[in-house]
């Protein structure tokens, strides 16, 4: 590393590093990536000793600068839907920061530009994704074309439900329970009306929409890198979500028990 130091207020640099870490964690990065990014940014702006501790909902950053000052900041992380597009941008930004060492105001602007809250509207690409996923996996598990059609319709309705209610509350387990009940009822109705033929295939298609795949994957990757605490937290959340999905669909089947 070159000796040329960029003169920045440590508090500002830490703010920027924590912003980066927080946004990455919320977009679905592994703990190792977050801690590595924060350490690298702080080291790039003035060396010293950096201590980072990150779990799923908290980042603690403590920095002893070369001049001997100690600074500590903590940050509470709130859950956010996974967005790999933003994660990739942030990854590129952290490479850029460590290489060019831009002033903190510029970093702040870039993070704001990446994390600008999405416009609240119905995204066609996302809806297409829902429909493709549900219909394709209905056919994948052996349904016929009419089941695929039913699953597609259910997927559109579920996307609209997500659009209306997703931001209310941050308990994802309860939310996935509620949306599973809704999806289960929609699946049963679609078969009762006569669009779909096999209730099981339609339901499997909608289950694939909600499966907590990213949580499970990140849990594995975290545990493997030695972050057992976060790994267990994520695994527990993923398992609870899986159980909630099963219970939700179970409730829907019980409601329509005699009819199917």
């Amino acid at each position: 590393m070159d000796k040329e130091k960029v003169c920045e207020d440590p508090a500002l640099v830490m703010e920027c590093a924590l912003d980066m870490g927080e946004t990455m964690l919320r977009c679905g990065a592994e703990i190792l990536r977050v801690e590595d990014t924060i350490t690298r940014i702080c080291t790039a702006y003035g060396g010293g000793i950096v201590d980072v501790f990150t779990i799923l909902s908290l980042i603690i950053l403590s920095w002893k600068t070369d001049t001997g000052e100690n600074h500590t900041l903590t940050r509470r992380i709130n859950p956010h839907p996974t967005d790999l597009n933003k994660l990739e941008d942030l990854n590129a930004l952290s490479r850029y920061i460590c290489e060019k060492k831009p002033p903190c105001s510029e970093i702040g602007q870039r993070i704001c530009a990446i994390m600008a809250p999405d416009e609240r509207r119905i995204y066609k690409s996302k809806m297409t994704g829902y429909v493709l996923l549900a219909s394709a996996f209905t056919l994948f598990f052996g349904g016929n074309l009419r089941d695929g059609l039913a699953a597609g319709i259910v997927a559109v309705l579920m996307y609209l439900w997500d659009y209306c209610f997703a931001s209310h509350g941050r308990n994802r387990v309860v939310y996935s329970l509620v949306i599973s009940v809704v999806a289960g009822i929609l699946c049963c109705l679609s078969v009762l009306i006569g669009i779909g033929q096999n209730i099981d295939k339609v339901m499997i298609g909608s289950i694939m929409l909600m499966i907590p795949g990213i949580n499970l994957m990140n849990a594995l990757r975290d545990m493997m890198c030695g972050d057992i605490i976060t790994g267990i937290l994520r695994l527990a959340e993923a398992l609870m979500m899986a159980v909630a999905i099963a219970v939700g669909f179970g409730i829907a089947i019980m409601l329509f028990g005699g009819l199917l």
Binding site: V50, L84, L132, F137, F140, D200, I204, I211, L220, R221
Partner: protein, 174 residues
């Protein structure tokens, strides 16, 4: 032989490709990287079908595709310079035991304990196979790529500064 294989599994592979594209759109992958996820999904489904045809055990049916796909996405992550997760998650999706999860739940709702036990067991075995496949390869790459991760150097620095001070004091004495 190849013809019958093709006939039997064509629908599965095609729908897996479409499904992975859907999943990529769902988690908002960059548009120019969707194709990689799609290829990964096709590869994992193809291998899954081959293993199923070769009548391997349920564990191996999922372990082998997961291993290959993880290798694929870790290599690709280094070529394209993006997090491996971007390619790994869509590629794994066709292996996820959504169907087994449903049948487990259905058996429990119907009060059919024996079936529920079998399906739950199968779900766990599949999850275990996928997990093992991912862990083995990722661990290898983790050890290769994180050799020069920046750990704390507190005690190094203390030793160095102590040495400097000693040198300074000795030169001052001279």
């Amino acid at each position: 032989m190849i013809g019958t294989f093709w006939e039997k599994y064509f629908v599965m592979i095609l729908t897996a490709a479409i499904g992975t594209i859907g999943y990529c759109l769902n988690i908002n992958t960059k548009r120019n990287k969707i194709i990689y996820g799609c290829i990964g999904g096709v590869v994992s489904t193809f291998l899954y079908c081959v293993c199923m045809e070769a009548q391997m055990s349920l564990l191996m049916q999922n372990l082998i595709p997961a291993t290959v796909v993880t290798l694929y996405s870790e290599v690709l992550a280094r070529i394209v310079k993006a997090p491996a997760t971007v390619f790994l998650i869509p590629s794994i999706i066709p292996l996820v035991p959504g169907g087994r999860l449903y049948y487990t739940m259905r058996a429990i709702v119907d009060g059919n304990g024996a079936d529920a036990k079998i399906y739950a067991m199968e779900t766990l075995v599949i999850a275990l196979g996928i997990a093992a496949g991912i862990v083995v390869i990722s661990l290898m790459f983790y050890h290769v790529s994180h050799k020069n991760i920046q750990y704390k150097v507190r005690f190094d620095q203390m030793v160095k500064s102590a040495q400097k001070e000693a040198e300074a004091s000795s030169s001052a004495q001279k």
